[in-house]
């Protein structure tokens, strides 16, 4: 039975009200709300409704890799625990309890990761980061609070202006930050000591799915012999094994495709092409379409939002399970899905 509960709306609401929350956590929280409001009486009915809801969520968002990771995790958990359930009601309530517990723990994840990553930042080092990632910002803030002296270069990420957001956050913490062009990554790579990026998802072979531009950065880092570190919470691990860039599951058609530039596009008179409106509503990796004027949208067209970085380019991953090498990730995934 379909309920009246609008999972997608609830999800979006969550993102607005708590800007710090990450997408998969919001998704799980939304699903938990769904369980609360569910009228299902049998297990199979219940399972179907949950599956449908998660499907809805995945399709509603443009960039849904991390969201799918979260949803899949929750579904898997439900599936496993259903075997042990004594009766339906108690099982439902236990699920709700677990889900809420998870949401709480999830917030702590970030701090745990930041703690793990701080010793890697040495006094006097120069770090290159990509766009805006909350975990990375938290890590750098913790390092600054620890009296480490370091400088940061951040790529502008013009499509989402994420770099500029990052710079605001870091400068507020007293960290000297320089914003560089996305195209200037190769230029600046010799000056940096390490590269630090966040993650949308971590795939089975240890590879990384992150905002567009990460793969490029990883290749340049490898060529320049600089370590490339990624930070990811463990609920972002997905059971995918992409072989190339185009193997990522896309639930919306235009995540990874390029649309033609509008050929008879005219430059607007007011020259407001690059207006930055930091929108609290969307998380940085979500579609920025709403924040731009129609003209700039036409100019840029649709561009892929995420790319895939193979594990050879990644030195280490900082997760709440500890510091892992890319090959260690698959081990963890196996443990989960066994």
């Amino acid at each position: 039975m379909v309920t009246d509960f609008d999972v997608v709306a609830h999800y979006k609401n969550l993102l607005i009200t708590s800007p710090d929350i990450s997408m998969p956590v919001a998704a799980i929280e939304a699903l938990v709300e769904l369980i609360k409001n569910s009228n299902a009486t049998t297990m199979s009915e219940f399972m179907v409704s949950i599956k449908e809801a998660s499907q809805l969520l995945k399709t509603s968002v443009r960039n849904s890799i991390s969201l799918s990771a979260g949803c899949d995790l929750f579904l898997r958990f439900i599936g496993r625990s259903s075997q042990d359930a004594a009766d339906f009601e108690s099982w439902k309530s236990s699920l709700i309890a677990r889900g809420e517990g998870f949401v709480e723990k999830a917030a702590a994840c970030r701090h745990k990761i930041a703690e793990l990553g701080v010793p890697f930042i040495r006094d006097g080092s120069v770090i290159l980061i990509h766009a805006h990632s909350r975990v990375v910002s938290l890590l750098l803030q913790k390092a600054a609070a620890d009296h480490k002296r370091f400088k940061v270069f951040v790529t502008e990420s013009s499509h989402s202006q994420g770099g500029i957001r990052s710079a605001h956050v870091l400068r507020a913490a007293g960290i000297p930050t320089t914003i560089i062009l996305d195209a200037a990554v190769g230029y600046v790579m010799d000056k940096v000591d390490m590269v630090l990026v966040g993650a949308e998802g971590v795939v089975e072979n240890g590879g990384l799915i992150n905002q567009i531009g990460s793969y490029q950065m990883a290749i340049v880092a490898k060529a320049a012999n600089k370590p490339f570190y990624a930070v990811a919470e463990s609920y972002k691990f997905v059971r995918l094994f992409p072989l190339n860039q185009y193997d990522l599951p896309t639930y919306s058609a235009d995540t990874l495709s390029f649309q033609e530039l509008n050929l008879d596009y005219d430059m607007p008179e007011d020259g407001e092409m690059g207006t930055i409106k930091t929108d609290r509503v969307t998380s940085p990796s979500a579609t920025p379409v709403d924040t731009r004027t129609l003209s700039s949208q036409k100019a840029q067209g649709s561009n892929p939002l995420v790319d895939y970085t193979p594990p050879d380019y990644i030195t280490l991953l900082f997760t709440d399970l500890g510091v892992l090498t890319p090959s260690g990730v698959s081990d963890e995934l196996i443990k989960l899905y066994l």
């Binding site: 890697f120 040495r122 030195t315 399970l321 500890g322 510091v323 090498t325 090959s327 963890e332 443990k335």
Partner: protein, 352 residues
């Protein structure tokens, strides 16, 4: 408490560098652990774990560049937890079925969604029998430490073939035994880099030649030049880090880089007690700069005022350079080490 004195003694020896070399340090630490556990009061297992951890912290702080200390302490802690779990399972077998046997460790993702009411496992009920089991297991570790060379050298004939030219650097007992065992069955040549300024390579060459192996000593600067003729590079190491990187005697990085350039396989012989769950925060974390006297004599009064002389004892070698680890539990690629770490150490103990 006499165990406190024993701990202080070992701490002092480590600080004063009277005890150096991973093998010796590991043996001493193990002896100390046995004493500590035997003398610990019989309360809860949690308390025992805390006690061992605090002793471990002191020892590690005494010489942070000697990872073998921490490794042994972590092994012991792992043993304690394992034995406790086994003991619990045994008693529970009589009772109801509990959670499935843990392939999952307590910090897996699965547990994020785990029971919010369940705390971290409380280790209680420390009984005499448990203590005896623990001590027995720890003594097994000691036996393992003593038989490392046997396990490793038995793999020698798999890796070394006739008429090969092997290159090595520094003086490592493990590599020496490995090569000697291979020499008893095959005929091959060994090139040893002299490893200035300690010149350990020369001692190594002496030992190898006593065993009848055709040995040549080359200066460190000649390593790259000669590498094209080498079939394999076999190295010893001081410590192995969690990412597969090595902390080995100075000059090893150079040899490994030369080998990579020539696509020569690099094989590292090491006991598992040298495997540490720590990561190298940067290339310098495990370097020790010792007395520069061997590089520039102290008598050169004028020079030493104007010149800074560094004498690093260890090198960090990144995992890209290593092809295979031969350990007392078989051969593994660097990417597999995380598995060995998970099997031998508990995640809670990674940071003592």
């Amino acid at each position: 408490m006499s165990s406190k004195n024993v701990v202080d003694d070992l701490v002092a020896k480590l600080k004063r560098r009277q005890l150096v070399g991973s093998s010796a340090v590991a043996q001493e630490t193990l002896k100390l652990m046995i004493v500590v556990i035997s003398k610990a009061p019989l309360s809860t297992v949690n308390q025992l774990i805390d006690l061992v951890k605090s002793v471990g912290q002191k020892l590690v702080a005494a010489n942070p560049t000697e990872p073998a200390v921490g490794n042994i302490v972590r092994r012991v802690l792992h043993v304690i937890r394992e034995e406790y779990r086994d003991a619990e399972n045994n008693t529970n077998k009589q009772g109801e079925l509990t959670a499935p046997p843990s392939l999952t460790t307590s910090s897996s993702m699965y547990n994020l969604l785990g029971d919010p009411t369940s705390q971290q496992a409380v280790y209680g009920r420390y009984s005499h029998a448990l203590r005896n089991n623990i001590i027995q297991e720890v003594k097994d570790i000691r036996i393992e430490l003593e038989t490392i060379y046997d396990n490793i050298k038995n793999q020698a004939s798999l890796h070394i073939h006739s008429n090969e030219i092997i290159m090595t650097i520094g003086k490592s007992k493990t590599v020496e035994e490995f090569l000697k065992m291979a020499a008893s069955k095959r005929k091959f040549q060994v090139l040893v880099a002299e490893t200035a300024p300690s010149y350990q390579g020369q001692e190594m060459a002496l030992e190898l030649s006593k065993a009848g192996i055709e040995t040549t000593v080359i200066p460190d600067s000649a390593v790259f030049a000669v590498m094209s003729r080498v079939n394999k590079v076999i190295l010893g190491t001081h410590a192995v880090l969690a990412n597969g990187g090595l902390v080995a005697i100075t000059g090893t990085h150079m040899m490994a880089a030369a080998a990579k350039h020539h696509s020569t396989p690099v094989v590292v012989c090491t006991g598992l007690y040298k495997l540490s769950p720590l990561y190298p925060y940067d290339d310098d974390s495990f370097t020790v700069n010792i007395n520069p006297d061997a590089v520039l004599g102290f008598e050169e009064g004028d020079l030493i005022e104007k010149v800074t002389v560094a004498n690093p004892y260890y090198d960090y070698v990144s995992p890209d350079f290593v092809n295979l680890f031969i350990t007392n539990q078989g051969g593994h690629p660097p990417s597999y080490l995380y598995r060995l770490i998970v099997e031998n150490y508990h995640p809670d103990d990674h940071s003592l």
